[in-house]
């Protein structure tokens, strides 16, 4: 077993008499590092401030998504307007055509 494996084993299971002194020294360093890193604390107000910022970021993301959907929906709304406009024009043209044809027919007997 090489030294890296010995250290890993000692970190997992703890040192014992069979652990070489050099590895035990490294385990002590590791313990001190863990302790120093654990000492990094946030006060209650700092934790609350960070959480409030998380919620603000989340809200911002939700709003951005909403704006994205709104943009998509506005584009979709234009399509029915165009179709509706075309339909109105077609119906209008058809009505004028019908009136013209119907009008000629109804006037014809009088002229005769």
């Amino acid at each position: 077993m090489n030294t890296a494996d010995s250290l890993d084993r000692a970190l997992e299971r703890g040192s014992d008499n069979a652990t070489p002194a050099s590895v035990r020294a490294l385990v002590n360093v590791a313990a001190e590092v863990a302790e120093a890193l654990a000492a990094a604390r946030l006060s209650r107000s700092e934790q609350e401030r960070i959480f409030a910022r998380s919620l603000a970021l989340l809200e911002e993301a939700v709003n951005e998504q909403r704006r994205g959907w709104q943009r998509v929906l506005h584009l979709e709304r234009r399509a029915p307007v165009l179709v509706g406009g075309a339909a109105v024009l077609t119906i209008g043209a058809a009505a004028i055509g019908w009136v013209m044809v119907h009008g000629r027919r109804s006037h014809a007997p009088i002229a005769a």
């Binding site: 030294t3 890296a4 494996d5 250290l7 890993d8 970190l11 020294a25 490294l26 002590n28 360093v29 590791a30 313990a31 001190e32 590092v33 863990a34 302790e35 120093a36 890193l37 654990a38 000492a39 990094a40 604390r41 946030l42 006060s43 700092e46 934790q47 401030r49 960070i50 959480f51 910022r53 998380s54 919620l55 970021l57 989340l58 993301a61």
Partner: protein, 192 residues
């Protein structure tokens, strides 16, 4: 930090499920991990403000993705560390970072002892901060995050063997840099 037991993991799974049903129940998860993620981000970025940004963004992502989170039997922190790691990597492409000054908890020990202890802790953290990126990541995830080699390998996208080696190199470097005797050894010597 010791690895999580099966019971602790099960308790965590229940916490996550509760938070998935009701977002208000996310608070215990936040409180459990906020300091770990902050310490991780701070050691990586060496800048308190950036570390707060990364921590806030990590938890915003956590809340957003909570409904889709799938429990896989590994600590929730593994997922949080991965998000934070990606955010730090993204921040790293921006202008340089500067300070490294952690807030310390108020202690009831003598002022001299507190000063000595804080100075030593600051030295240790500064030494960790000076490690090469991959070694620093491995050390933080193992000793601050309490993750297993497999979980660290997954976050760092390296093999377990590589993680083991990175940890070994990092601890060896720290041993040289921090000098001896260390407090733990001093106390052992005192007993002999």
């Amino acid at each position: 930090m010791a690895h999580r037991s099966a019971e602790e993991l099960e308790a965590e799974r229940l916490l996550i499920e509760a938070a998935q049903r009701d977002r208000a129940a996310f608070a215990p998860l936040y409180e459990r991990y906020v300091e770990q993620i902050f310490a991780y981000a701070h050691t990586l970025t060496r800048n308190r403000e950036l570390a707060e940004d990364v921590t806030a963004s990590t938890f915003a992502k956590a809340i957003e993705d909570l409904p889709r989170f799938e429990w896989r039997g590994v600590p929730y922190s593994a997922w949080l560390y991965r998000v934070a790691s990606n955010l730090v990597a993204r921040q790293a492409r921006r202008p340089a970072w500067s300070d490294l000054d952690m807030h310390q908890p108020v202690d009831e020990a003598s002022p001299e002892l507190i000063v000595e202890q804080r100075t030593r802790e600051a030295e240790v953290r500064a030494a960790v901060a000076e490690l090469p990126d991959d070694q620093r990541q491995a050390v933080l995830l193992r000793f601050s995050g309490g993750l297993r080699n497999r979980e660290i390998a997954d976050i760092m996208e390296r093999s377990e063997g590589a993680v083991k080696l990175l940890t070994f190199r990092a601890v060896t470097t720290l041993r040289k840099q921090l000098g001896a005797p260390l407090p733990a050894e001093r106390s052992m010597e005192g007993r002999q």
